[in-house]
Symmetry: C2
Subunit: 421 residues, 2 copies
């Protein structure tokens, strides 16, 4: 445990994780929040609803980390075995917690749902724990201490876990541990591969001080670069990492998209706000995914006008004014069609900028000259339109994601170039 | 290791997982595929790019499982330490693999990218491993054997990992291990809570044979119920689980949505195909997310016509024909507006059925009588429209997801009821 780091382990409990029925999004969120208060996640472990596996995970993680966070396994139904196990593991007996009891009753009253015995079982906790109230649900959080380790058990429902983390766990950990600072600086590049970048910045990278780590995170044909450091002296670390981050930005200036750890859709939104412009999309093959990414950003209604998802020919014609002849002669997946889609979109929504997509996402629908993964993207304004044919070779979901990422990148670059002049 | 189960552990390597920068979707996919061939995932562990942590994970997981699958840490850049570590762990020295060498050269030739020394390093592997070719990328998979355990290392890029799994790993494991069958049966319910269902089916659940497990998986106000069994005698198990699954369906008949493990958007699509009907959506607050969920399903172009994402007032008016007065007097988030959106959508797209949403997803935009989380949803056809006000209390993303799930559920139920008559 170098550098006096405070380490945490995350244990997630539930067979649904081990048979692949559920994707674990909790752990990423928890790791981010712990990072912000200077706690480093050392390990994440998922185990099934099996007594000995949970017990073993508790033993093992207590070896590695001072803080052990446990999610899942606390529901009211019979597949949940975590609470009795925790009672045995930490000693003690089950008692009814009055505060939780009243809280559960109040919730069911409010929801106007029948309250049954099983729900009131939620109010039972081991008498060796400190209860962390769960205002968003019925299963309480529980804190246990054993041999200078802190164990915290929370329900696996994401918004309930997040509520308990924010109101109880994070403030408590901050108070209890003398946490070092963890600092990250991340930038996003496009247009060059990981190896190419590595080669270009090699001598700079080799000269990095030992407390600064560089990571390459490739995705969707773009590469994120992340600098990380941690330690006690915040000011010195900050000055170090900021200086090196500026050097790094300079080294990748020509391929730099944004110098923060923001997703591309956020970077695009920020650019639109800065330029005081609006955007709309006309999506065929991306099926509304670009619109979803953009509207998932708070405040996007300021710059986002709307979308036409034109899956059917008649929607392309009626709502976007694509010529029937164009579709018949050139096909839906063609430069002519995406260009007409874009022109129609800009006319009908009065947006300053627009993105149009049309392609074959698979698994079906490919032809010899337009195989699965063929996509036409057009981006532009009333003044200027750029269209490009892309070729992907993955499954449907990945092809949709790549279409969205590349289309937003094209839009970002066009706006930046256009307004620079 | 009861029941002769074959156990696997999944180790994912990378700091990005521990600081929450990346959500681990690989593990869920791998677990599903392993399950299909009868391998049970016992544990999933994520560790950082740290030599001793990876080493420790290898030691520990070899204690629990016969098969250890490792992803991540194989890129061409300096943050990747996995390959040299594996070389030390299993003994041996690094050699150049000719087949991989040629493959890497071919890829760069095809992409027309400059090939640098660093890329050719990808062709170096420990001489103690068996190479598993990666046709989708440059970093090869590697198989090691140690004390009757099989260790397989793969790159973390999802489509590369999936390629190696399908072409090499899964066939190899099937051949090498006498795998028992794992069977799941899952159904989806809506309209009743977890505890309520548990209470209703209690006596049935208590009488389940010991080799059959029942799990409750609540999400978006719906509850999935999953039966699981595993063992050697496939026919007997199948007959057991199918009989019990039919009993379960009968017990929850009134709240049953679909008797397969399909997401709601797939169930809705299947219903539309069955009824030979088409669908369109008019989305304000859900911002294209419903369209995205529906179009992510292969073959959805058969029943999905398209979408208008109407974020701005003028898009609601121009493309959906919402009256300016309605927006001014009743507001964008009102029964009148969603109803007009739906009528306009059905007229303009000629879809048989439509979904319209309008709401305040937060964090900003709430008012005392329409707080953040207020949503109006309308679903219907030219003959019948049902509108409902919903109230959520979560963050923006979760509110969008809940809007989509509830709107699709309303649509599903309306179509089922309408066509039953």
């Amino acid at each position: 445990m170098t550098n006096n780091k405070i380490f945490a382990s995350i244990i997630t409990i539930g067979d649904e994780l081990l048979i692949g029925q559920t994707i674990d999004t909790n752990s990423a969120w928890m790791a981010q929040e712990l990072n912000k208060i200077g706690v480093w996640v050392k390990r994440r472990v998922a185990v099934g609803d099996t007594r000995e596996d949970i017990w073993q995970a508790l033993d093992e993680e207590a070896e590695s980390s001072q803080i052990i966070l446990i999610t899942g396994g606390l529901g009211p139904t019979a597949d949940d075995i975590t609470k009795p196990l925790l009672c045995d593991y930490f000693g003690g007996k089950m008692i009814v917690n009055e505060q939780v009891y009243e809280h559960v009753k109040t919730i069911f009253l409010k929801l106007n749902r029948p309250l049954i015995e099983r729900n009131l079982k939620q109010a039972e906790v081991p008498d060796t724990c400190e209860v962390l109230m769960n205002v968003r649900g019925t299963a309480p959080g529980m804190l246990f201490r054993k041999a200078d380790r802190v164990f915290i058990s929370m329900p696996g429902v994401p918004h309930e876990m997040k509520g308990i983390m924010k109101s109880s766990v994070l403030p408590l950990l901050q108070k209890e541990f003398q946490v070092p600072v963890i600092l990250h600086r991340t930038l996003l590049t496009a247009g060059a591969g990981e190896s190419f970048i590595a080669e270009r910045i090699r001598s700079w990278e080799e000269a990095l001080p030992s407390h600064i780590k560089l990571a390459y995170l490739p995705n969707y044909g773009m590469v994120r670069l992340r600098l990380t450091t941690s330690g006690i002296e915040k000011e010195a670390l900050e000055s170090d990492i900021d200086r090196l981050f500026l050097q790094l930005q300079e080294l990748v200036k020509d391929i730099l998209i944004v110098d923060t750890d923001t997703p591309l859709e956020k970077a695009l939104g920020d650019l639109l706000i800065k330029k005081n412009k609006t955007l709309a999309t006309a999506e065929s093959c991306s099926g509304g995914y670009i619109a979803h990414l953009i509207t998932a950003i708070p405040g996007s209604s300021v710059y986002f006008k709307g979308t036409v998802v034109a899956y059917a020919y008649d929607v392309k014609e009626n709502l976007l004014g694509v010529q029937h002849e164009t579709l018949e002669v050139k096909g839906a997946v063609s430069e002519e069609t995406v260009t007409e889609m874009l022109k129609g979109l800009l006319a009908t929504t009065s947006a300053d900028y627009g993105i149009a997509t049309s392609g074959i996402m698979g698994p079906g629908g490919g032809t010899p000259d337009k195989p699965v993964g063929t996509v036409w993207v057009a981006v532009g304004s009333k003044e200027k339109i750029v269209a490009k044919r892309l070729q992907f070779r993955f499954d449907r979901i990945k092809n949709i994601e790549l279409t969205a990422a590349n289309a937003m990148l094209m839009m970002f670059q066009l706006i930046e170039n256009e307004t620079e002049k």
